[in-house]
């Protein structure tokens, strides 16, 4: 790569994990990402990666991510994705990507009705992407989840297509890497925690890798995602 990796974090009213995302990006790339306002019309020139951070954009009004998905900046994000640019949506960012039609499916209320905020193991399902190259397939990583609407739903035909094309990024599992049963925190179909777009340049996931990049907060398993991206 000739120029340094440029990341931009989109800030919506009600986003609250943008600083965590920015910190993880700085750790991996050596410099601060641009912060882009939801009402801006364009991304900074030369943006390689757009991050839609976690939070409660627009107070989760109507449906989680529904209003943010129609914000002006999302037109620029759509164009960026169509050009093959990288987009990472975390938690509310994943909900926004689904609402925007950049990823298939929808995130419904957790099957157990409760907001869940705790550590969660994930199994890496593929590493042949620019987001996960620094993981190995089958790695069990320890990150955090913090959501009330993380129950992934798509028609069974869509789920079959996702699985057939290797587009399931991560599945919820227990500490040993076993999926199913109580290891699924929110009722997500086929234990899906994150999915890729058709061209693998857009990733959405409910868990928070950006919160686990510093041993000070109890884990560093999220680092490899940002390191993979910075090396992409």
């Amino acid at each position: 790569m000739t120029s340094p990796f440029r990341a931009a974090v989109v800030l919506f009213p009600g986003s609250n994990r943008e600083r965590d995302a920015a910190r993880a990006l700085k750790l991996a790339t050596g410099h601060d990402p641009a912060i882009v306002w939801h009402d801006d019309r364009a991304l900074p020139e030369g943006t390689d990666l757009v991050v839609l951070p976690g939070g409660f954009s627009y107070g989760d009004y109507l449906r989680c991510g529904a209003i943010a998905a129609r914000a002006h900046i999302m037109d620029a994000v759509r164009e960026h994705a169509a050009r093959g640019g990288l987009v990472l949506g975390i938690c509310n960012g994943f909900q926004i990507l689904c609402e925007a039609g950049l990823l298939p499916g929808a995130l419904l209320r957790n099957a157990g009705q409760r907001f869940i905020c705790r550590r969660q193991s994930l199994r890496v399902e593929t590493n042949a992407t620019r987001f996960a190259a620094h993981y190995a397939v089958g790695d069990v990583i320890d990150v955090a989840i913090a959501h009330g609407e993380g129950n992934y739903f798509a028609e069974s035909q869509t789920l079959d297509e996702l699985e057939g094309a290797g587009r399931v990024a991560f599945r919820y599992c227990d500490a040993q890497g076993e999926v199913g049963g109580a290891a699924n925190p929110n009722g997500s179909l086929r234990d899906i925690a994150g999915v890729y777009s058709e061209n693998f340049n857009v990733l959405g996931l409910m868990p928070h890798p950006e919160n686990f990049v510093d041993a000070l907060v109890g884990g560093t398993d999220g680092r490899a995602m940002f390191a993979s991206l910075a090396a992409a």
Binding site: R63, A66, R70, L108, R109, F153, G187
Partner: protein, 79 residues
């Protein structure tokens, strides 16, 4: 012209909120409750008096924003 849009989860989609409400109604002793599904109601005032134009604008609104048609159905009624 006034309109009402009702958005409900598709029948194949789990509705944990409806289930919780169903459970609460049963525990309150409300007789004869078989099941509950929760939805959303939008009361919308429209300019103009052409029902066909209103219907088409509301369908546009539902498809673009009010409903997520992956998981929800909508019905439109004009008053």
């Amino acid at each position: 012209m006034k309109a009402r849009v009702v958005v409900t989860l598709k029948s194949a989609v789990l509705d944990p909120q409806g289930k919780a409400i169903e459970g609460a109604l049963k525990s309150l002793g409300v007789a004869g409750v078989a099941s509950v599904r929760q939805g959303k109601v939008f009361d919308i005032e429209l300019e103009g008096a052409d029902p066909a134009a209103a219907k088409s604008a509301l369908e546009d609104a539902c498809e673009k924003l009010l409903a997520n048609t992956i998981v929800e159905n909508y019905t439109i009624s004009l008053a």
